[in-house]
Amino acid sequence: MSQALDEIKIGGLGASRRRVEDDRFIRGKGNYTDDITLPGMLHMEILRSPLAHARIKSIDTRKAWDIPGVHLVLTGEMMATRNLAWMPTLSYDTQAVLATDKVRFQGQEVACVIADDPYIAKDACEAIEVEYEPLPVIVNPAQAVADGAPVIRDDKENQPDNVIYSWAVGDRAGTDRAFEQADVVSRLQLHYPRSHPSPIECCGSIADFNRATSKLTVYMTTQAPHIIRAAVALVAELPEHMIRIVSPDIGGGFGNKVPVYPGYVCSILASILLERPVKWIEDKSGNLISTGFARDIYLDGEVALRKDGKILAVRMHADADHGAFFSDAQPSKFKIGLLHSTFACYDVPVAHLTARGTYSNKAPGGVAYRCSFRVTEAMFFQERMIAAAAADLGMDQAEFRRKNFVRDEQFPHRTPFGFLLDSGQYARCLDVGLKAIGYDDFRRQQEEARKRGKLLGLGISTMTEPLGAGNSREYDILGIKMFDSAELKVHLTGKAILRTGAKTQGQGHETTWAQIVAHELGLPAEDVIVEEGDTDTAPFGMGTYASRSTPVAGAAVSMVARKIRAKARRLAAHLLEVSEEDVEWELGRFYVRSSPDRGVTIQECAMAAYSNMPDGMEPGLENTAYYDPPNLTWPFAVYLVTVEVDPETGVWDVLNIVAVDDCGVRINPMIVEGQIMGGLTEAYAMANMQFITFDAEGNCVGSNYMDYLLPTAWETPGFELHSEVVTPSPHHPIGAKGVGECAAVGGPAAFVNAVMDAISGTGVRNIDMPLLPDRVWEAITQGRDVSGAPPVRADD
C-alpha cells in the first residue's frame, strides 16, 4: 500500500506555503497597469476643477489643441454628443464623466487631453481656460439639509433638496417599549471621518480599440473585471463579447478599485475616436481627491440597559455624507451597506436603525474600504458605545461584553436586524485576549501609574463581521447576483490551471487557491497555476472586495475540485475494474475498498481522462463551478490595545497590541497573519492620523501624502497575533470564513477605547478620529468632547 500523502508537504490546507506570486514581484517583474506599453499608445491627462461648487461659464480648449503632440481634447460638451457626459453609478444614481453644467467637488474631472507623451498632455491641460462662477459650498449633512441650502444636484428631476434617501430597518415600536423599561440609557454621538483606501498604486487604464476587429480591450486597475465589462456594455452600448477587460497585477485595492471612474470612460472613448491605445495613469492627488472615499458618517445611538448590565435594546441613527454623486459600491438592496450588522455579536433582543444619505460638494464613491460595506462604521460605533455603556454602568469592560455576547450554544443566531450568525466562540476568544494582554495586571499598573501622573489606558474591541456577500436572494450589484466562480482544467499529466471570477490584489490567490485544490484533489499545489482578471478567459464572477474571495470564490474552488474528483472516481473505477461504489478516496488516490493496495493516483485518473476513458464517457477532466453561498460567514475577533497618553502634549504611544482572530479554518496561516497585520496597521492609521477633511470652501485637506498621513515602519507598532480559537464555518465547504478586513474593521475602536480609557478621569465621552495630539490635549485640558467634523476650524 502506498503511503498516504502529507497534506502540508504538498502545500494543502494549513500549509504556510511561500507565495508563488512573490517570484516576479521581488525581481521587479510584476505587471501592473502602468507597466504595459502598446504599439502606438497615446497618453491621457485629466484637468480637474479647483473649486468645490461652481457653474461653468465657458471652457476654451483652443490653446491646448495648438500644442504639438496633442491628438484630442475632450470636454463634457463633446462627451454629451455621445451621451457619455454622465454615467450611471453602482447605486442607481448618475455621475458626471466630464462636467457640463457645474462642478460639484474640488478635483472633479472637467476636461482631458490625449497626447503623444504624458508631459505634453499635462502641458495641454494647463493651457485649457475654464471660467467658473463660484456657488455656495456644502461640506457636511447639517449644511446639506439646512434651510435655503443650495441644491447640488439641480441636474436631476425630482431632486428638490440634497437628501438622497431615508432608510430604516428593525422594530421601532418594540425598541421604543424596551427603552421605556430601561434602568439606564447610554448615548453616544460621533463622526467617523472621511478616509481613503489609498493603495500605493493609483488607478489607471489602457483602452485599446481595434477598428479592424471591433474589439475593445481595456487593461485596468479593477478589483471586479466582470462588473466593469457589464458596465461598459451597458454604458458605452458596445456588444459584451467585443469587450475584454484585463486586470493585471494590482498595487493594492482595499475597495478603491471597485467603482467605474471617469478616467476609465474617457480613455475608452478616446481610443475609439483615435483608433489607438490610450493610457491614463492617475497621479496621487487625483486618486485622493476624486476616487472612492470611505466612511464620512455621523452616528448617534443609544443603548437601553438593565442595572445588571444586560442590553435590552439598541437605537441608532446614521447621517451619511455621500459627496456629489451617490456612487457607493454596495449591494443594491442596502442603502447604507450592512450598517445594520452593528451589535451582531451581542445578544440584543430588539433594535432599530434609521439612516439618511445626503449630497455634499465632496468627492463621490463611498467604497467598502477594507470592509464589508459600512461594517467598519457599524463595528466602530458598536464598540465605542459598548465601552461608554460599561463605563456608565460602572461595569468592567470585559465583563460587560462577556455578559452580553451571543453564547456558543445560541448558534445559529438571528440578530434583531435579521442576519443569521453561523458560529463562534466569543467568550473563549475574549479569554485568550485578556490573558495575552495581562488584563488584571495591567489594571493594577494603570492604577499605580495614575498616582504618578501617568495616563495608561486599555482598549478592547470585540466584533463579528458579515462576510462573503452574498447569497443571491439578498445580494446583487446592478441586478447581477453576487455569486462567484471557479474553473479547473486538469491536464493529462496531472498539472492544472485554475481560474476564478475573483481578482487578487495582494491577498495571494495564486498561492492559496492552489492549496484548496491540493486539499481536495491531492495534486501538489505547485502543479496548479492560478489565473484571474481576464474576462475573456476567467469565468464570470463579481470580483474581490468585502472579504468575499475566500467565502465565495474560495468555496467555488472547492466545489469545482469536488466535481473533478467525482469524475476522477468514475475513471478510477474503470481503471481498477470495479464498480464506483467499491472505490474509496484518500488524499491524491482512489483505492479498492476491499483491497487498499490496489489503487490509482489522481494523476493516473487525469491521464485516463484523455487516453483511456470508459465507453460513453465524455473525455477530458475540466469543469466549472458557480457558488451561491447559503449564508454569510461570520469571523469573530478580539483586539486589545494598551497605550500611554502624555497629558502635556496629547501624544499617545501604543504599548501593546493583541489580536485574537477566529476566522475559521486557515488556508495559509502565514498569509492570514499577513492580512491581520495589514488590517491592524490601517486601524492604527485611522485612529491616529489618516483622514480627509475639508475647509468651508470645500478645499480638500488630505489630497496628497504630505497632508494625508499614513504610518511608516517607524510609527507602526508591533503586533501579537493569536490563532488558538478556530470555529469552522458550518456552511463553507472547507470551513473558512475570510479574514482580510477584520482587523481594519474592529481595530480602530480598540485604539480609541484605549485612549479614552487613559483619560477616563476627564469626563470626556468622545474624541473623533483620528486622535491627533491636539484633539487629545484639548479633551484633557478643556474636559470636553472634541468633534472632527468638517469644515476644519479656522484655528486648525
Binding site: 521581488i26 525581481r27 521587479g28 493603495p199 498595487g251 482595499f254 490584489q505 501624502y705
Partner: protein, 174 residues
Amino acid sequence: MTIVYEDRGDEATSDVPVNRIRFTINGQKMVAEIEPRLLLSHLIRRGLGLTGTHMGCDTTNCGACTVLVDGRPVKSCTMLAVQADGHAIETVEGLSGPSELHPLQEGFKAEHGLQCGFCTPGMMMAAKALLTENPSPTEEDVRWALSGNLCRCTGYQNIVKSVLWAADKLRSQS
C-alpha cells in the same frame, strides 16, 4: 524619450530642448538624449523599460520609486534625469545575478514581506543601502531606514523581519 511630432511648421515643434547624458544603469554604460524636465523615474521606466521601479505618489513620500544613485537611496520621481549625468543608477532589476537572488529578495519571500508587491522594489533598494552601510542593523535601525517608504498591505512587521533575514544571510556569506 523619442517623440515624433506632427510638423505644423511652427516654432514650438523645433523648440523642444534636448540634453545628452551619460550614466550607468545596473552596471551598464548608457547615453540618452532627453528633455531636461524628464524625471529620473520616467527615464528608468519608459526610456529604459525597467518597470520594476514603481511610481506611487510623485511627491517624494511613498518611496515606491526608490533607486540607488552611487549607492545612496534616492526617490527617482523627484530627481531630474539630467542630474543622473555621470552617475551610477541601480534598480531592482540589478539586485539579483543571472541565477541567484539577492538575500533581500530571498528574505522578502521567506518572511512574507510583501503582499501586492508595489512598494517592494523601493523597500528592497532602501534596505540595500542600509545593509551596505550597517551590516548588523537592529530592528529600530531597519524601521528608521525604511521610514521613507510606505506600505499599505503588510503593516511593516514582516518587512522588518525580511531585512533582518537578509542581514543575517549577508553576514554569514562574508
